[in-house]
Subunit: 394 residues, 2 copies
C-alpha cells in the first residue's frame, strides 16, 4: 500500500554486519504532525533523548533508523553521532535538521560509527519510493525472523485516509509506556492533540500489553506521522466521529504489530493470550496477567505443552492482585481445568493439553472477585530463547 | 554432626515415584522452642496454613516432610490430609498432634494421598537416628541435584551449642519473606522472642537474597527448633552477647544453605553475586540488584559467558532505583568494564570474559549516588533450565 506524500528506502550500510539492510529512511513531502512515545527505562539511548527534545515541535519530516547498534550508553559521543547522522540526512534531503528524527536498535554500549551513514546517504535518499516500506521493515530487524508491516484504510468524510506501520521486536520486550521501534505513517489531516491522544491510548492497549522476556529496552520508540495529504476534513476535538474512526484504525495497526512481535518473540513457538477476568480493578487484573505472562516457569511449561496450572496460580499468588484462591477458575481456550481452586481431573487435563499443542491459545483466569478484566500477550520460553541470547553478541 | 536430643529418618514411601526417599521426619526428645517464616505468596499450601496456626504455641516436637506433592491448591481435602498425616506421626511417636508440623514440596494441585504416609510411619519412626539428617536432606529433594546440609558449633558460656540445617531448592525460587524448605535444629537453650528475631533477621539477609527464576513458591517454609539440651545459659534479651553468637551461627547456616540452593538452581552452570553499591538507600540497592538478578537476558548472557553489560544497565534502568547512567561503573570481579557509563574497550572486555568463564563470580554495579549497598545471589539461565521445566511433570 502507498500512503500519499510518504516514501521510504533502505540500504546495506555495513553498520555492524555486511550484506544485510541495516539503514532505513522514512520521508514525508511536507512536515507531518507527529506524536510519539518512548521507553520509560531510566537509561535512555541517545536517539531517544534527541527525539524527545525534537518532538517538542510536534512536527517531523524524516526518520532515519538503523539496526546493528543501539547507540545506548555511549555518552556525549553517542549524542554527537545521533545529531551528526540526522544532519547528514537533512543535508541530503534539503530539509531542516530539526525535522529529522533518528532511531537505533541493536547492541548496547558500542559507539555508533558516523561514517557508514554519510557514505550511504546519497544512495539512501536516491532510493526513496512510495513502495519502500517493506525494505525499511527489513532494515530495522535484529533477532526478528520476519519483517512486520500492517496497513489500514479508513473513510473520513469522503476522503480515503491510509495508515501504514512497521515495527521490530523481538527481545528485551516488556514495554512500559512505549516499546521497541514502531513507525506509522498516515496521510490523515489531524491536529496534534488528537493524534497525541490516539497514540497514548492505542499504545497502552497494544504494545504495553505484550511481553517476551520481561526486559524493557533502552531504545523503545513509537512515532506516528500524519502529513494531511489525504485532504480529509481535519480530525480534531470538534470532530469526535472522525477521531474515533482514525483512532480505531491506528489501534488496529498497533495491535497487529504488537501481536506480530510476540509471535516472533525470540525462540517463540507459541503465542499465548493471558486473560484475567473477575478482578476487583483493571489495574489488579493487568498486574496479575503481567506476572503470569512473565513467569519463566509458566512460559517453559507452555513450551513443554504442559497444562501446569499450579505454576499459573503460584505466579498469580505473588502478583499485587487480591483474590481468594478458593474462587479461582482456570481455562485453556474453552477447557476448564480448575474451578473454585480445585483441579477438575485427568480427563480435563488431557483436553487442556490438546489446547496447548496449538500454535496460539488463550489462558483465562477468572478470580470471581469483581467485573474487571485485562489481557496480556506473551510467548513461550524455549531452548532457542536461551540459544539466541547466550550467543547474540558472538 | 549430631545435635543433642534430635533425631531424623527418611523412607521410600512411594508418594509420587517409587525407589527414592520422599518422606522424612525430624524429632526432638522434648518440645523445642520453634520459630518459622513462611511464603508471602497469597496462595499458601495446606501445610503452610496449618504450620502458621500451630506455630502460635512457639513449640514443636516433630516435623514430617514429604517431596513429590506440594499439597497446594487442594482445598479442604488437602487440609484434611495435612492434619491426618501429622496425626499419624503423632500417634506413632506418642506425642500431642499439635506439636507436629508438616511440610510438603513437589507438584502443585494434586491431592495428597494419606495412605502412603500411614503405611510408612512405623518404619519411619523406627528409623529415627541422630545421624539421620543426611537421609532427610535427600528425602526433601525435588529437582535438586545435591542434598543441602550445613552445620555450626558455637560456645555459649561454657556450653557447646550445635546447629544443623537442611534445605532444598531448586526451582520456583525468589523468596520474599521465607523460602523453599529449610529446617534447622539446635540444642541451644533460647527463649522464643530471641529465636524469632534471629530467624527473621537471618532469613532476610540469606534466603530472601537469592533467586533462581523469579517465582515465589506456595510452600516456602523455614523452621528453626531449639530444644535446650545443650544446657547453656538461656539465650535471651538479657544476654545480648550470647544472642549475638547464636544469631551469627544461625545466619551462617542460612547463608550457606541459601548459596547452595542458588548453586544448584535448575540448570545452573554459574553462581553469580550481584552487588550494587553507591546507592542512595539500601532498599534501592536491593531493588536494583534483584531486577538484574532476575533478568532473563542477563542470565542467558551469563550462560553464554558474555560480559554483556548493556543488558545489565538496561535491567538497572527498569528497576525502582534512582541513578544517573553517566555515573555508573560495572566490574566483573576486579575487572572494570564500564566507568562513568562508558565502555572501557575490548581489552577490558576480554578480561571480563575470562572472569565469566569461572563457575562463580561477582558483578559489582556502582551507582555513585550514595553509600548504600545490597547483594543478591543468582545463577545463569541455561538450556537445561528450559529442559527441566518443559519436562518436569512428564
Amino acid at each position: 500500500m502507498q500512503v500519499k506524500g510518504f516514501s521510504a528506502a533502505a540500504v546495506q550500510a555495513g553498520i555492524r554486519y555486511a550484506g544485510r539492510y541495516d539503514l532505513g529512511l522514512i520521508f514525508s513531502q511536507t512536515p507531518a504532525v507527529t506524536a510519539g512515545m518512548f521507553t520509560t527505562n531510566k537509561v535512555k539511548a541517545a536517539p531517544i533523548v534527541l527525539a524527545m527534545e525534537r518532538l517538542g515541535s510536534g512536527l517531523c519530516q524524516a526518520v532515519l533508523v538503523n539496526s546493528g547498534n543501539a547507540n545506548a550508553c555511549t555518552g556525549q559521543a553517542g549524542m554527537d553521532a545521533a545529531v551528526a547522522t540526522a544532519g547528514s540526512a537533512a543535508q541530503e534531503l534539503g530539509i531542516d535538521p530539526h525535522l529529522v528524527q533518528v532511531a537505533s536498535t541493536g547492541v548496547i554500549g558500542q559507539q555508533l560509527p558516523v561514517e557508514p551513514f554519510t557514505r550511504a546517504m546519497p544512495q539512501l535518499v536516491a532510493g526513496l519510493s512510495p513502495d519502500g516500506f517493506d525494505q525499511l521493515a527489513q532494515a530495522i530487524m535484529t533477532t526478528d525472523l520476519v519483517p512486520k508491516v500492517a496497513t489500514a484504510t479508513v473513510l473520513i468524510g469522503e476522503a480515503e485516509v491510509r495508515l501504514l506501520g512497521v515495527a521490530k521486536g523481538s527481545g528485551m520486550i516488556m514495554p512500559d509506556m512505549a516499546t521497541m521501534l514502531c513507525f506509522v505513517v498516515s496521510d490523515a489531516r489531524i491536529d496534534h492533540p488528537t493524534l497525541d491522544q490516539a497514540v497514548k491510548v492505542g499504545v497502552e492497549q497494544s504494545f504495553n500489553r505484550i511481553t517476551v522476556d520481561g526486559d524493557t529496552s533502552t531504545n523503545d520508540m513509537v512515532l506516528v506521522m500524519a502529513n494531511g495529504e489525504a485532504g480529509n476534513t481535519l480530525i480534531d476535538a470538534d470532530h469526535p466521529e472522525a477521531a474515533a474512526l482514525f483512532n480505531a484504525a491506528l489501534y488496529d495497526i498497533f495491535k497487529e504489530l504488537a501481536l506480530k512481535i510476540v509471535a516472533d518473540g525470540e525462540g517463540a513457538t507459541k503465542m499465548v493470550t493471558i486473560r484475567v477476568t473477575g478482578a476487583r480493578t483493571e489495574q489488579e487484573a493487568l498486574h496479575a496477567a503481567r506476572t503470569i505472562a512473565n513467569s519463566a516457569l509458566v512460559k517453559t511449561a507452555f513450551f513443554g505443552e504442559d497444562a501446569n496450572w499450579g505454576r499459573i496460580i503460584a505466579a498469580l499468588g505473588r502478583s499485587d492482585c487480591l483474590f481468594d484462591p478458593d474462587r479461582v477458575a482456570i481455562r485453556f481456550d474453552d477447557v476448564m481445568l480448575v474451578n473454585r481452586g480445585i483441579f477438575l481431573g485427568s480427563e480435563q487435563e488431557e483436553a487442556a493439553t490438546n489446547v496447548l499443542k496449538q500454535r496460539a491459545f488463550t489462558v483465562t483466569i477468572d478470580l470471581g472477585e469483581g467485573d474487571a478484566a485485562a489481557e496480556m500477550y506473551t510467548c513461550d520460553f524455549s531452548f532457542d530463547y536461551v540459544k539466541i541470547n547466550a550467543d547474540y553478541r558472538s
